[in-house]
C-alpha cells in the first residue's frame, strides 16, 4: 500500500502547471491525505521551465520528499532535467518528442510514456487549453482517484463564471485523459491510492495563514508595497479586512509602508507590513525608529533568494543576519521563525502580543517555501487567541496622572503607553535620544539609562517567547539545529537516519532573537555530533550560535544555497557520512 507519493507536473510558464497542480492537490486533500505542495517557477513572464510537486502522505509532512513517483509534463525539458529524481517504479507521461534523448541507464526501472496532450486537446476540443483537464484525467487514472471530486471542483470553478457547456467540456476532457491513460499506462505502473475520509483539514499556504493570524489577532491596519513572494498576505487581507473595519493601504514604496504602519500603531491600532528581502533592506532605518521610539509593529519578511533582486520566486534563509543585526545603532527586537503553516498562523498572532507587551518591532521571518506553498493543516484554533495589548493605559487610568511619562524608567524597562486623544497622556515620541517624557535629551547619564532601559526590556522575556521545539528521540546523540522551513526535511532526515540505525534529534529554533541561549547550550551539550542546517551560503544560524552560545564543541554546517528547497536526503546523507566517518 502506498503511504507517500510525490507527483510532479512540469512545463513552461504559461502551460497551466499551477492550475493543474492545484486541482490535483485539492482532490488528494479531499481524499483524506496529508498534502504538501512545492511551486518552482521562474520570475519571468513566459517561456521558462516551471514545475509543481504535489506530495501526499499518510503521515504528517511539511515539505518535499526525496523522489518523484509520477511525473506529467507538458514538454520534455523537465523530464530530462529531473530523471534522476524519478523513483524506481515511477511513471512518466510526457507531451514531447525528446524522450529518445534519455540514456537507457536513466530509464531503468522507470516507465516513460509519450502522451500527446496538446494534440488530444486540439483534436477533441479545438483548444489546447483543455490539455490541463486531460492531464488531470490521466493522473486520476494513475492514482485511482475519485472522479466525483474532480467533477465537483470543475462545477465550482466554472459553472457560475462560464456556464454549463464549459463544465461539460471540462468533464469530458477529464474522461478523455483517463481513457487515454488507460490505453498507455500498464496496470502495474499505476500508483493506486487508498481512499480515506476528508478530515476537514485546511489546505493553506503560509502567506494565507499569516494573514489569517493577523486578522484574528486584531490587526486592523496593513500597509505594503507589492513584492514576491509576500503579496499573497496582502491580497488575502485586502479581501477580508473591510468586513472587520480594518484598512489595507497600498503605499508608494516600502519606506512609506513601514512608516505608515508605525504611525497607525503609535495611534493605537495593531499594524503590520509585509515584504521580502529588498523591501526589508529599505525598511532598515524605520526598523530602528520602531526600536528607539518603542512603537510596536509586526514586520513579515517572506524570504527569497538574495542578494539584490536575486531570484524572486525561489526560497532561501539569507535575511536572518539582516534582521538580527541590521539598522544602525542598537535596539531590542524579536524575531520569530515558523516552520509550518500552522506556526505561521500561531506565531503571527503571538507576534502582536509580543510587540505590544515589549513595545518593540517583531519580525516574522519566513521563507518562500512556507509562504507560497500550500499544505494541509488542522483547522486553526481561534479560541486560543487571547489579545493582550500589554501596558496600554486607558483614559480612566490616566485620569489622576498629572505627570505622565511615556518613557518612564520602570523595573523591567517597559513604560505604560498612552494613545493620542487621551487626556493627561500627552507626550513626545522621539527618534532622537530622549528623556522619560520623550523630549530630546543629550545628557550622557540619561543616555546610559535609556539604553539600559530599552535593551533591558527583553532580558526577562524568555518565559514569553516561543521556546525551541525538540523533535525526535531525546536520548539521541546526533543533534540537528535548524529554523523555519527546513523543519520538514530535517524531521524526515531523522526518520531516514533512524532506518540506518543512526538516532538523531532536532532542535527547532522558533524564536531566533532573543536567542534561546540556555536551551541551545543544553542541547549541544547533550550531543556528540551537532549539525546546523542553514538554507544559505554562510551558515548564518551556525555563526549566530557561536556568537551567542559560545559552545565548547564544534558544530558542522549543512548548507543549501541552490535556490531549490532542501530535500530530506540532502541532510541525511551528509549526517550519515559525518557520523560514519567519525
Amino acid at each position: 500500500m502506498i503511504k507517500d507519493i510525490s507527483v510532479m507536473i512540469a512545463g513552461q510558464a504559461g502551460d497551466g502547471v499551477l492550475f493543474t497542480g492545484n486541482v490535483l492537490a485539492k482532490i488528494l486533500k479531499k481524499e483524506g491525505w496529508e498534502v504538501a505542495t512545492y511551486r518552482y517557477f521562474p520570475s519571468n513572464i513566459r517561456g521558462e521551465p516551471t514545475h509543481y510537486i504535489i506530495r501526499a502522505s499518510q503521515k504528517k509532512i511539511f515539505g518535499l520528499g526525496n523522489e518523484i513517483d509520477v511525473l506529467l509534463s507538458f514538454d520534455c525539458e523537465s523530464i530530462i532535467k529531473y530523471t534522476k529524481l524519478i523513483a524506481q517504479g515511477g511513471v512518466v507521461l510526457c507531451d514531447g518528442e525528446e524522450l529518445s534523448r534519455l540514456k537507457p541507464t536513466h530509464k531503468k526501472g522507470k516507465a516513460f510514456h509519450k502522451f500527446p496532450l496538446k494534440i488530444l486537446a486540439k483534436k477533441h476540443f479545438k483548444n489546447d487549453i483543455f490539455k490541463n483537464m486531460i492531464a488531470l484525467g490521466a493522473l486520476c487514472y494513475i492514482l485511482d482517484l475519485n472522479f466525483r471530486l474532480i467533477e465537483r471542483i470543475i462545477i465550482n470553478a466554472f459553472l457560475k463564471r462560464k456556464g454549463k457547456e464549459i463544465v461539460r467540456m471540462n468533464i469530458d476532457a477529464v474522461n478523455l485523459g483517463c481513457e487515454q491513460a488507460r490505453l498507455i499506462v500498464e496496470p502495474s505502473e499505476r500508483h493506486k491510492l487508498v481512499k480515506k475520509m476528508d478530515t476537514g483539514k485546511m489546505f493553506i499556504s503560509g502567506d494565507e495563514a499569516i494573514a489569517v493570524g493577523a486578522l484574528a489577532a486584531g490587526c486592523r491596519f496593513f500597509a505594503a508595497y507589492p513584492i514576491c513572494p509576500a503579496t499573497e498576505i496582502w491580497q488575502w487581507l485586502a479581501l477580508h479586512f473591510p468586513e472587520f473595519n480594518g484598512i489595507v493601504v497600498q503605499t508608494e514604496d516600502e519606506l512609506a509602508a513601514i512608516n505608515m504602519a508605525l504611525g497607525a500603531s503609535y495611534a493605537g491600532t495593531r499594524a503590520m507590513t509585509s515584504t521580502s528581502g529588498p523591501g526589508g533592506s529599505l525598511m532598515m532605518e524605520s526598523y530602528g525608529l520602531s526600536g528607539m521610539a518603542e512603537i510596536p509593529i509586526v514586520i513579515v519578511d517572506v524570504q527569497r533568494v538574495g542578494p539584490s533582486t536575486g531570484m524572486p520566486t525561489k526560497t532561501e534563509q539569507s535575511d536572518l543576519n539582516q534582521w538580527i543585526y541590521g539598522s544602525h545603532g542598537e535596539f531590542p527586537r524579536i524575531i520569530l521563525s515558523p516552520g509550518t503553516v500552522t506556526e505561521c498562523f500561531d506565531f503571527t498572532a503571538k507576534a502582536f502580543d509580543l510587540a505590544d507587551k515589549y513595545q518593540v518591532p517583531v519580525v516574522l521571518l519566513t521563507e518562500q517555501d512556507v509562504g507560497q506553498n500550500s499544505r494541509t493543516a488542522k483547522k486553526f484554533d481561534l479560541s486560543k487567541i487571547k489579545i493582550d495589548r500589554g501596558k496600554l493605559l486607558s483614559e480612566e487610568e490616566l485620569k489622576n496622572n498629572k505627570d505622565y511619562k511615556r518613557y518612564a524608567f520602570t523595573s523591567n524597562g517597559i513604560s505604560p503607553r498612552s494613545l493620542p486623544s487621551m487626556k493627561n497622556g500627552i507626550h513626545m515620541v522621539e527618534g532622537n535620544e530622549h528623556d522619560e517624557k520623550g523630549y530630546r535629551d543629550e545628557d550622557p547619564e540619561n543616555r546610559i539609562r535609556m539604553m539600559q532601559k530599552r535593551m533591558g526590556k527583553l532580558s526577562g522575556s524568555a518565559k514569553d517567547m516561543i521556546p525551541p521545539k525538540l523533535w525526535g528521540d531525546k536520548q539521541a546523540t546526533v543533534g540537528i539545529i535548524g529554523f523555519g522551513s527546513t523543519l520538514g526535511p530535517i524531521v524526515e532526515a531523522i526518520e531516514e537516519l533512524g532506518d540506518l540505525n543512526i538516532r538523531a534529534k532536532n532542535l527547532q529554533i522558533r524564536t531566533v532573537w532573543p536567542f534561546p541561549v540556555e536551551t541551545v547550550r543544553d542541547f549541544i551539550r547533550s550531543c556528540e555530533f551537532v549539525f546546523v542546517v542553514d538554507n544559505n551560503y554562510s551558515g548564518q544560524l551556525h555563526d549566530l550560535i557561536h556568537s551567542q552560545v559560545k559552545p565548547e564543541a564544534g558544530m558542522q554546517k549543512i548548507l543549501n544555497y541552490s535556490s531549490v528547497a532542501f530535500r530530506p536526503s540532502d541532510i541525511s546523507t551528509q549526517i550519515k557520512r559525518a557520523v560514519r566517518d567519525a
Binding site: R220, G246, V249, E252, M260, G263, G425
Partner: protein, 286 residues
C-alpha cells in the same frame, strides 16, 4: 476653557530671529481659535530645525525620521480619524528626501494638514543647498554655486492633484494663521508652505527679500482659487515673484471617507470579532 498658553509647552531654542518663531506663534493661535483640545492633536515632524516645533507645542508629538513625516502622519490619521493631524517638514524633508511621499500624499488625500517650512536651505545640518535654493546658490555643499533648477513645491502639488494648496510667510503671521486654519478645516489633504527665513545660514532669502518678492493672491479680487489653470499660471504671472495666499482648493472625497467602512477610530475598535465570523471565512480553505 482653553487658553492660548495651553498650547505652549516650552520656549523654543531656535536662533533669535528665525522664521520658525512666526510659525510657532501663528500655529498656537490657530489651535486656540479652532478650540482643538491639545490631546486631540497629533503633530508629526521631520528632522531639521522645523522638526523641533512639536516639542515646543503642547499636543501629542512625534519627531520622526528625515523625509518620512507624511507616511507616519497618514498612518496616524487613518488609525484615528477623530484626531487633528498636522505634519511639519522643512524644504529638505518635504521636497528632497521626502518628495515621493509628498506627491503620493497629495493624490491620496488623507484629511490632514501639511506645513512645509521653506527656508531654502538645510538649517539643522549647517546650511547646505536645498531643492528650493536658487540657481547658482553658494553654500558649503555647492561652493561654486548650485547647478540645479529649484523646485516650486506648490506647482508640483497642483500637478499631483492636491486639493488644498496655500502659502504663507512667517513674516506675516496673521495671514499664515488664517491659511493654516483654512487648511485644517479643509476636508482632505491641505498643504501650507511657509516662507521662513533662516537668519543664520541663508543670507540671501531674508525677511526683506521675501517681503520684496511676494504678492498676495488673497488680496486679488480677480483671483479664483478654484480654477486650476489660473492657479498654474499664477506662479509665473509676475516673473520670478512668489504668490502667497490660498492658491488652489477643490472639493473631493478624502481617502478615508472612501476606504474606511467604520466610523469608530480603528485605534479603539473592539478587536474580538463576532463569534464564528473568521471560522466562516476559513471554510474556503477546506
Amino acid at each position: 476653557m482653553l487658553k492660548l498658553e495651553d498650547y505652549h509647552h516650552q520656549d523654543p531654542t531656535w536662533c533669535r530671529g528665525c522664521g520658525l518663531y512666526g510659525l510657532f506663534s501663528a500655529f498656537k493661535k490657530v489651535a486656540f481659535s479652532l478650540k482643538i483640545k491639545p490631546e486631540k492633536m497629533s503633530i508629526i515632524s521631520g528632522i531639521g530645525c522645523h522638526g523641533r516645533l512639536n516639542s515646543y507645542f503642547n499636543a501629542y508629538g512625534f519627531h520622526s525620521l528625515h523625509g518620512r513625516t507624511l507616511p507616519i502622519a497618514q498612518g496616524v490619521k487613518l488609525a484615528n480619524t477623530q484626531l487633528s493631524v498636522v505634519a511639519v517638514s522643512g524644504d529638505g524633508d518635504a521636497y528632497s528626501i521626502g518628495l515621493g511621499h509628498f506627491i503620493h500624499s497629495l493624490r491620496r488625500n488623507v484629511d490632514m494638514t501639511y506645513i512645509v517650512v521653506n527656508n531654502r536651505i538645510y538649517g539643522l545640518t549647517q546650511g547646505q543647498t536645498s531643492p528650493t535654493s536658487r540657481m547658482n546658490f553658494v553654500s558649503p555643499s555647492t561652493p561654486y554655486g548650485s547647478k540645479e533648477q529649484p523646485l516650486e513645491g506648490l506647482q508640483m502639488a497642483l500637478a499631483a492633484g492636491g486639493s488644498f494648496i496655500a502659502r504663507g510667510f512667517s513674516g506675516a503671521p496673521q495671514q499664515l494663521a488664517s491659511l493654516i486654519t483654512a487648511g485644517m478645516k479643509h476636508k482632505g489633504f491641505s498643504l501650507v508652505e511657509v516662507l521662513s527665513p533662516c537668519v543664520t545660514h541663508n543670507k540671501i532669502d531674508t525677511y526683506q527679500l521675501f517681503k520684496s518678492v511676494i504678492f498676495d493672491v488673497d488680496k486679488d479680487p480677480n483671483y479664483d482659487p478654484t480654477n486650476k489653470n489660473k492657479a498654474w499660471k499664477i506662479f509665473s504671472r509676475h516673473g520670478d515673484k512668489l504668490p502667497v495666499g490660498l492658491i488652489y482648493k477643490e472639493t473631493r472625497p478624502s481617502f478615508e471617507e472612501q476606504s474606511l467602512p467604520g466610523r469608530k477610530p480603528l485605534a479603539f475598535l473592539d478587536l474580538v470579532p463576532e463569534a464564528g465570523k473568521i471560522e466562516k471565512i476559513l471554510e474556503k480553505f477546506e
